[in-house]
Amino acid sequence: MGIINNKRGDKILSVYWFAVLLIIAGGIFGMVYVFYGTPYDVREIEARVLTNQIADCISYTGRINSNLILNGAVVENNNFLEQCHLTFDSTEWEEEQFYFYVEMYRLQDLDKSFLEIEEGNLNLAVSCSVQENKEQENLATCLKDSFYSLDDANNQYVIKILTAVRKAEKNVKI
């Protein structure tokens, strides 16, 4: 009787070990699948690069672009995207995946902006206001930056830039 019981115990133990192995294998397969199946999220870097491009276009080496402000006055009819060599249209996406909003303030009047430039997909601006309260990966990644510059007549300005990059399908597992 004792021998029979031992044999049963061994068999149960083997089955139990295989069950444990299967559970571990399932866990490892699941973790690896999730890890490698999640795309690299490069939107923050992309937003940073876009902000730098816009900042360089507005003010290179600390002087405001004379195509934007000349002698303290705003130069009208700017095609900002073309001037800054930016293109937001792509065969990869049906809708534009970028947005930016630039505000320029005179240093003596920081309450009211005197020049605003807005380009790209306006719907992404809403994402940025939502992101302020709680970070949502599925929405656009937003970045805010500001800097100080002078124009040709040595007037001082503060420039604020908000950029948004969507491309959620290629950067987040949805």
């Binding site: 070990w17 490892i28 690299y40 992309e46 249209d89 065969t91």
Partner: protein, 131 residues
Amino acid sequence: MKKNKRGTILVENVIFIVLNILFLTILILFLYRQGNGAVIFEQSYAKNIALLIDSAKPITEMKLNMEDAFKLAEKNGIDRKDIVKINGNVVTVKLSDKGGYEYSFFNDVEVTTYPDVPSENNYIIKINNYN
């Protein structure tokens, strides 16, 4: 009776050990294949190249080391010159015959890409002019 019992125990143990080894081998192969898959490399290189182009100014030549990609492409029968393609403002990296991975860039520049001399494992990305 004793001989039979010992024989049964030995066979059970051998089967158990063989199955364990088989299980571990499959697991290690799975992990290795996942980490060295074309999909992972295609995505990584396409995003890398798009970000490099976005950050670059005209008349710039960049050399990107793509040793891993070259090995994988060779294994999958893809020619070096077909690995990176630029169509408008979209970068496509192809390391297997399953289509490749696309990623767009916003810098409005004219770009040409080609592999370096065969002895070097680099890809050359040349930013020519603004469009």
